[in-house]
Amino acid sequence: MSTIDWLVMSATILAIVAYGLYKSRNVKDIRGYLLSDKDMKWWTIGLSIMATQASAITFLSTPGQAFDDGMRFVQFYFGVPIAMVVISIVAIPIFHRLNVYTAYEYLEQRFDLKTRSFTAILFLASRGMAAGLTIYAPAIILSTLLGWQTDILCIVIGLIVMVYTVSGGTKAVSHTQKQQMVVILVGMIIAGVLMVLKLPADISFGDAVFLAGKMGKLNVITSPSSWSEFELKDRYNIWSGLIGGTFLALSYFGTDQSQVQRYLGGKSLTESRVGLLFNGIFKVPMQFMILFIGAMMFVFYQFEARPMFFNQVERSNVVESDYGSQYLELEKSYQDLNEQKTGLYRDLLSARETGNETQQAEIQGKLHSLENKAKQTRQEGIDLITQNNPDADKNDLDKVFLTFVLEHLPVGLIGLLMAVILSASMSSTSAELNALATTTIVDIYKRLFHKDKEDRNYLSASKWGTFIWGIFAIGFALFADQLGNLIQAVNILGSLFYGTILGIFVVAFFLKNIGGTSVFIGAVLAELLVVACYVLPLVNIDVFGWLDIGFLWYNLIGCVAVVLFSLLAKVFQNI
């Protein structure tokens, strides 16, 4: 990166941090620190909610997802608007009326202390480790591409976040997220526009869209054509998006404290609701835009030399090994295939102009055949990388967008896009630390150990709580590279808990005759069921082949199981 890029990136990040510190300078008590004095406007809430969900990985991986698999990933977000409406109708009025600090606080009023503590601990267990990964995941990608030290990057990101999150609490988090989201959106729009402008002179925007479509990258809506084709392990189709996605969004936005805290700070019920619905309106178009950038990036790299494998560190390792000559041969074949494709793309555009549909279909068939050969060659290259180093990172899709940024954007804009990625990482991490500290202090420290202390004691404890969770997150990020598959396990861990937590809240909101003991038994049994669904296929025990399903469905299973088991527990209690 050039000096100008460094200046742009540093100035953007520091300005955002300074703004957050300035806006939160008057925080004097626990209400101000954890609920932002309930003075947030709807646009701050809306942008804050979007920024919390959008981690750096969202902006690094999502374009790569479209580059490889097309745009169908957008269906994953179809549940968001539905969930926003349900939460606005059902949850927000209750949270506001009870004036709670955390979503779990409500569970004690509705059920009992053990259900509140159980749910809070489920949240702390899953989100605590995820906070470390939110720092680690972008750090490892940036270090791979820029040669920066991963450890130093983790510490720098973590410390910057801690500076304003510890001092300003929720107010600082929400106000910085507003600025971060603006930087993110502006940066992504500029990157998208430049990507189209950088296409060869004879390829127009319309041509690029046409080619992306012909290569199957604009497959936004996918659905099995019949029930026999329906597969539960297919993560991204309209069914999993609408049903599984709705349950996931309901649990994430309605019961995850890192999101609930964003709208609890609303000036009024109306401001909170509008903020949440704002997210419901803009989330799907935003994801569509990011994926569309990925589809355009696919077209861009059809006319531009592209590496066979985007992770240059792993490439260098295999080239320098005994497999080097084999790998270089594969790279040459891959480039030859790409050159053949480039010629055919131009032929396809000519055929479109002449209106010759038979020729178009013929060229399209040839292109798909070459694309499959290129994929096969690439896979052989990845196999060599794995043979050389079994622990090598085989996924390079999260490096595609950043490679484009570093190699093709002008000086200054690279710095801005780096600021986008760091902003996204900081916005998610700050919300997580803020929520973890709030749950620890309000649901554990204050409720279980120090009930009647002075306000300043709780304020001080909250700051210490944020600080300790920050250190934990940085520590987890520093050791994450030694955890291997545990990282994947941590990600899955979150989806294993969400359904159960949502189920507890569904019972709380809708089944008025179910008490604390019944829901507690139901939640424990449901959690065991969800864990069994995940674990049994791993040890090759599968019930009728039904358990091999995408993780998105765990949310639905967990939620429904809590409801059913709670009802059964209630029936048995009455006998």
């Binding site: 539905i82 349900v86 109708i89 992306a212 809506i221 609408l242 509008v274 799907v284 809708f510």
Partner: protein
């Protein structure tokens, strides 16, 4: 309310198998969900507050309809977009 959701979740796959299922899912579920306001006591004041914030919103149901309507429109547009460029 919960009974309505149960009925909706059972009925949706049946409707979905026969027609353009995602649209049926959204319409059917929320037709049931919005049929009866959960908190009618607070609705009047909240609607007033909403009108002050966003002038063209008559009440919350209008807002919810816009959010869900946008989703339906997006799905339809995306569907034709996918077909047009495949």
């Amino acid at each position: 309310m919960f009974k309505l959701l149960i009925i909706a979740s059972i009925a949706n796959p049946v409707i979905g198998a026969m027609s353009f299922c995602p649209l049926a899912e959204i319409f059917f579920t929320f037709a049931l969900l919005l049929r009866k306001p959960l908190y009618p006591m607070e609705e009047k004041d909240e609607n007033q507050e909403l009108r002050e914030l966003i002038p063209f919103m008559k009440n919350w149901k209008t807002f919810y309809a816009i959010v869900l309507g946008e989703l339906v429109v997006l799905i339809v547009v995306f569907y034709f977009f996918s077909r047009a460029f495949s």
